[in-house]
Each structure stands twice: as C-alpha cells, then as structure tokens.
C-alpha cells in the first residue's frame, strides 16, 4: 500500500482568550463550596502529598497574604496566579478562614 504523509496546511491558532462574562452573585458562595474544589490539587482538607503546598495547619494571615500576593502578581506561582484571579477579596478571606480552621 502506498504511504501518504499528508501535507501540513494552514494553522489557525486559538486566540488565547477564554470566553468569560462577569458573574453576578444572587447569594454568596458558602465557605465549603469555595474550599472543596481546591482539594483536588491541595489534597483532602488541604493536606497535600508531593510538591503542591499543603493548606492545612496554616494561619489565616499566612494563607490570606499568600493568596492575595498571587492574585496581585506580587508573587509568582506555578498555577495560582491564574486561579486566585477567579476569587473576590471576600472569597479569599473565606478560604483563608476555612483552611486555617481545618484540624
């Protein structure tokens, strides 16, 4: 059988912009609901295995300051600069409160 290798044609790149809208909240999101999705990366109750930092056992101020530093780009992270921009200041405080309270 004759072997064809197809020619590489015009390449159209995805424009690097996510399709987004502003989100208006009728109700505030509960602290649990804010915190649970974080645990897929940071481990159950924020206790991580491997290189991703644990959130468990850290103080409210430590967590809040880190999250705010990522959000404002004062600190460069691997993923967290992108993630923290999805949270309001109040939501960051709620997350810091939740994880600092994990026993």
């Amino acid at each position: 059988m004759k072997r064809y290798v197809l020619p590489l044609g015009r390449v159209s790149f995805l424009v690097g912009v996510l399709c987004c809208v502003s989100v208006v909240h009728a109700q505030p999101v509960s602290p649990e609901m804010l915190a649970f999705p974080c645990m897929a990366c940071h481990g159950p109750e924020g206790e991580s295995q491997g290189e991703i930092p644990s959130l468990k056992g850290r103080s409210y101020n430590d967590l809040k300051n880190h999250l705010q530093a990522f959000k404002s780009m004062r600190r460069r992270g691997v993923i967290m600069n992108r993630i923290t921009r999805g949270y309001s200041d109040e939501q960051i405080e709620a997350l810091a409160r939740y994880f600092s309270g994990v026993k």
Binding site: M1, L18, V21, V23, A40, G50
Partner: protein, 425 residues
C-alpha cells in the same frame, strides 16, 4: 417553569423522605438514600463527600469494575514512565472508612417514577436522590469500519486499562522508521488536550528507542487546546517528529481499514499507519440513554446550578456524560461537579435549598515526563448560567516553568486520587 419544577421536587422529596427510614445494607438511612452510578472521579467523589457531610444519609455506589484505572497518567503508562499499578485504585477506603455500600454490578435500568435502579445481579435499589456519573460511550461506526473489533487493532485507549497496555505493546513492536497515527475527534469528547498529550508521549518514547519514527495527529478540528504550547514543546523536544494535520488540510478520518492499518480522510486520501490510536466520536454512556437522560446530542442536559437532569427530577448527572459547557470533560471537572452535587443533595435531604456553586478545572498535559502545560478556569453560576470567571484561569505562559508544572501534575494526581477515593497513594 423553574419555580414550579423546584416546588414539585421539594414536595416529592418530602414525601419520599418519610419512607426513607428503611436501612439499606445495614446503614442507618435516617435522612435518605442516595444511589451513585459510576465509580470514577465524579461518582466516587460524590459518594465520599455526601458521607463526609452527612453520615445519616445512606450511600450506595454501583460500579461494574472492582478496580478503577484512571485515564489521567494513562499516556504516561503507554510511554513507560509510570506503572499501570500506580494508576489503578480500589474502593476499600470508601467502603471501610466512609461507610459507602459499594456494589460491583451492572445497572440495567432506572425508573425515575418509582425511583429504583435495577441491577444485572437481580437486586433493586431505591433512592431519594440518584447521582449518575457513568462516563462516555463510543459512537461505533461514526468512523466507517471503526467498531469494537477494530479497536482491538487500532486502540482508542480512552477508558484506561487493557487498551493502554495494548497501545504500549504496539509501540514496542513498531519498526524504526514507522508512522504512528493519533486521531482526534470533534468537541465534545473526554479530555480535550488528551490526543495531543498522547502524540507527545509517543514521540517521547519513539525518540528514545526508534528515532526515525514519525507521529501524525489527524484532527477532525481546525485547532486544538493549548496548541501553541504543544507545538512549542514538539519543536523543542522532538524536532521533525510530530506533525499535526488540521481538518482544513485533510485531517479528519472518516474511514479505517483496521486489519490493513489504513486510515482514510475526508478527501479520500489514505494513510498507512504502523500504529494507530483512533479516538472515536463519543456520547454519554449507554445507561444514560437507557434511562432517557440524553437529548438529541447524545449527552445529558442538566440544570447547571445543581446538575439535576432537566429530563427527570431527583437525578443529578455529572462528569463526562453531562452537558456542562463551558467546563471541559475532565476528571477534575467531574470531581468539582461531584462536590456541587454532594452539597446540593445533602441540602435537599435536610430540607434546605442548595447554595450557589463554585467550581474549578485544571487540565495538566505531559509533553514529556518533565515538561507539563496546563489550562485552568474557575466557574460560577450567574444570570447567564455557568461561566468561567472573567480574568481567572488561563493557560501556562509561553515562558512558563514546565518542569515545576510537571512536579505539580504528579502531586495533583496523588491529591485528586486521595480526594476522590479517600486513599493515599
């Protein structure tokens, strides 16, 4: 219409609650019974979180396989730098520590009126709330000649397990100088960046052992997720080895002749492959069709605040089988959706209204064992439905730290497994 439906659910929910005191397999079901179908990232997470949030709710998880092989890191197993054993997990911790009744059986029917689930083994399960996370099925025949028998010759390897091993063996047997083809379907399908990770890791393996080989990605799309990051990786790590063919340039495969190793595109041109991984068009798993939970698209429409089916009340559909745009079909999405549903189900069974959802997705893709690229987003529910939060998320920067992302990807895998199955790896 929404309001009346919600009221209806509340009323029927209250009525069934009064009947819910019968113990299921010894669990005290004081507040209600939840059945979860499917023990992957969606189902196992939902079962664990419901029991964690409220131990007075009885949870039965129905999963056909006693062990679960994850799709994440499947391509790493194919390329030989991760062992199959380390991506294989069981349900012991869910059963023993969280008191989930885990049943390994097949679901043959669901009656949304009497709220019962019928199993192949003969038993019937009654639920107050049903969580469906059954995953994908393949549209056999959508690519002419690609049926289940053909997949034993041209593995999809899109559900983990034996197909991954088969693909690994085929790469091992491939002659130096040969062509490996990966086909990618149109959106929606499980793991949008997955075909490109597969091509990358085929190139990683082949460059090491059979450097005259070539990897061809034949795509039914004119573009693909994280394209610039993958292409940058291919050029720097595997120069000249990986070629991506857009649908605009004849990339769409419409027919295969599996025994001969032939793939035919929409222009009628044929490609002879030494190894072909054909990732076919997909739809919700069969049980979602049997249970009348799919629309014309073959996927399950849901109300995205609680992931409750718009076709049948008291049934929540999460994971790859649900229509959850703009979220991609990924293990991370399923895990996040499971938490929304766990909180909603616990609220309903305690007589409360569910709160507002918040979700995250992050997809890590290996371009090489020490080179990973990612895309992430945060999702909330607003006036226009479920949307990615503006300014949140995005892709790895072109000058990003790919090595650090690789270490994070491995850490993520351990953590999401612990978060899903309750077990440390």
């Amino acid at each position: 219409m929404d309001v009346s439906r919600r009221q209806f659910i509340t009323i029927t929910g209250a009525a069934t609650l009064s009947l819910a005191s019968t113990p299921v397999f010894g669990q005290p079901a004081k507040k209600g019974r939840v059945v979860v179908i499917g023990g992957g990232f969606g189902g196992a997470t939902a079962a664990r979180y419901i029991r964690k949030l409220d131990p007075e709710i009885a949870v039965t998880l129905v999963e056909i396989n006693p062990q679960y092989t994850t799709c994440p890191l499947g391509n790493a197993v194919m390329a030989g730098f991760v062992k199959l054993k380390s991506i294989t997990h069981n349900y012991d911790v869910l059963r023993e520590r969280y008191g989930v009744n885990v049943i390994h059986d097949a679901v043959i029917d669901i009656d949304p009126v009497s709220k019962t689930v019928r199993l192949q083994g003969g038993s019937e399960l009654v639920y107050d709330r049903l969580v469906m996370s059954p995953g994908i099925g393949f549209r056999w025949g959508a690519i002419e000649g690609y049926d289940q028998a053909a997949s034993e010759l041209m593995p999809h390897a899109w559900k983990g397990g034996s197909q991954i091993q088969l693909l690994r063996k085929q790469l091992h047997a491939m002659p130096d100088g040969g062509v490996a083809v990966v086909t990618a379907p149109e959106i929606p399908y499980r793991c949008p960046p997955g075909p490109y990770e597969r091509a990358s890791l085929m190139a990683y393996y082949l460059k090491k052992y059979k450097p005259r080989c070539k990897v061809l990605v034949m795509d039914a799309k004119p573009n693909f997720p994280k394209a610039h990051l993958f292409k940058q990786g291919w050029e720097s790590l595997y120069p000249g080895m990986v070629e991506w063919v857009s649908s605009d340039s004849g990339g769409q495969v419409i027919e295969v002749q599996a025994k001969e190793g032939i793939l035919i595109n929409s222009e009628g041109d044929a490609v002879k492959a030494d190894v072909a991984s054909v990732i076919p068009p997909q739809q919700a798993a069969k049980i979602a069709h049997v249970a009348d939970l799919v629309d014309q698209s073959g996927w399950c429409p849901v109300e995205l605040r609680t992931f409750e089916s718009t076709r049948h009340s008291a049934i929540h559909v999460i994971g790859d089988s649900a229509i959850a745009r703009p979220m991609p079909k990924s293990g991370y999405s399923a895990n996040s959706q499971a938490k929304v549903v766990a909180l909603a189900v616990v609220a309903y069974l305690n007589g409360n209204e569910p709160g507002e959802p918040s979700l995250i997705n992050t997809c890590f893709s290996f371009v090489a064992p020490d080179h990973v690229v990612s895309v992430s987003a945060v999702y909330r529910f607003g006036e226009k439905g479920l949307k990615a939060v503006r300014g949140g998320g995005g892709r790895t920067f072109m000058n990003g730290d790919f090595e650090a992302e690789a270490r994070f990807a491995r850490s993520w895998y351990k953590n999401i497994i612990a978060d899903t199955f309750g077990q440390r790896t």
